[in-house]
Symmetry: C3
Subunit: 212 residues, 3 copies
């Protein structure tokens, strides 16, 4: 039974991909090594930390040093191979989507295990998958990408709903996990390929509530 | 005894008004629907969530889907009637103040029920009423309005003190609630009408601690 | 045995110095009194609050009004003597470092007391010492100083490791506290005097992930 090690591998790949995404944005802003490490770490573990605080359980990274080590490894990777990363963008898209799928699965499972209803599980899955990126953008003082063209969030919502549906239909855990992951992979790939995005809210320019 | 439904109505009106305020600012920034929904939701439930985390109780919106539905309704309202909202500003000022009063009342009551002293209740009431707006401004990457001209915070502090005073004097809960709400309404109305604001801190321009 | 009062004095000095740092930055941005108070308070207690939430204990300032009073005193100090503060920069450096040392000591002790491993204690000490400053910079809508040239974080990491090492070697608590504080003082002083900083991550300019 080496299923746990498969989930572990997914978790390592996902943490690594999320950390790389934070560290690369930090490097574009010329942060120092420590700052870049923190941004990478927050990108990777921020969403899950907020989820665990809301669920009132011990944040997952406080019981396993793997996540901090994995982010440190991502830092050294960028320091050593930063210039060659651009050619690997497709590989990183795959890693990143694996990470996203895993974060959604973990978010849904943790929430349902605590007997919360499905809609809380969907919120928690979306938080797990996207709050780290929002924290990253706040730290580097950019407007969160999330709010404009990020299909991350929709992929999380759809994936979480698919998982819950499978679960209700009595599917095995592993079937729910894989179905959910496949849906997330499809939604993200289609969204990127055909540049699908949600409609922009019709501007309400006169309303600025006193902000200059 | 239909008092609970009266409080419920106040809560719906308040959540709706706070969500509308977030969604309108998001629409001025041309966020997509999902981003605008998240900003509206955070404006409405962010303050109470931080309060509940600090008090170590389950965040209020995780046990009742009304808050998420109410924010979704606010989003559809802005999508459908966005252009006509400007004429309703006075109505929204009333809704918004009702929401603020309710948030202060709930913040004080939850804190006192856990046997914290009055000054903690005042802090929690202020957090409940204003932290959502601060989170909204951070998400849209604006300097929080709160810190410059927002009389929100002072209204929260005064309202919370009035509630605690009534409570100490042995007033009925409903009397404390109404007195507190009336004070908040008066403070906000006077502040807006006569443009009352706190003094600005005398600039200390040479001090920038290395920030460019 | 007046050791507790010595730690109390350090805590007052540290809170005061951290609050002053927040209030002065707020005054450079022309915040009003209340906004400046909140920024000062968050700078002083923000890091410890995040630590306590992660450790799932009651935030330290909710059981002792000293921290809120101390921040209020810092506000009045800046209002009254703001113009003369610049000459006191060396004094404030000392206060600030005392505060940092204390925050690290408290962070390590609280974490080890809950039976977490050393690396969690190092993370918590760093959070206690630096998260308040990051929150301050987010509130005033500046890119966190922390990520570029702040040796704060490194001083926290080294200080926390020194404390844990002393602890493992069987040193008395007071010896661990003083050794840790001395190391933090030395690291910060050397870093400021010789302008030591960590290397900047090699820019990866082409990577912007769609941010304009």
């Amino acid at each position: 039974m080496n299923l746990p090690s498969f989930v572990d591998l997914m978790e390592i790949a996902g943490t690594f991909a999320f950390a790389i995404s934070g560290i690369r944005l930090a490097s574009a802003k010329r942060f120092d090594w420590f700052g870049a490490y923190v941004v990478g770490l927050v990108t990777a573990i921020g969403g899950g930390t907020i989820r665990d605080i809301l669920l009132n359980v011990t944040p997952f990274w406080m019981t396993n040093s793997m996540y901090l080590l994995c982010s440190a490894f991502a830092l050294f990777w960028v320091i050593l191979f930063g210039k060659y990363l651009i050619r690997l963008n497709n590989t990183f898209f795959v890693f990143d989507t694996i990470g996203l799928a895993l974060f959604v699965v973990v978010g849904v499972e943790k929430t349902l295990a605590l007997d919360y209803p499905i809609w809380v599980a969907v919120v928690m899955a979306t938080l797990t998958g996207s709050a780290g990126g929002v924290m990253r953008d706040i730290f580097i003082n950019e407007e969160p990408l999330f709010f404009r063209k990020e299909i991350y969030a929709m992929a999380c919502v759809i994936g979480a709903l698919v998982y819950c549906l499978c679960d209700r239909l009595g599917a095995e855990t592993i079937v729910s996990q894989i179905t959910c992951s496949v849906f997330i992979f499809i939604v993200r790939t289609l969204a990127v390929k055909y540049n699908i995005c949600l409609p922009v809210l019709n501007g309400d320019d006169e309303y600025t509530e006193g902000n200059k």
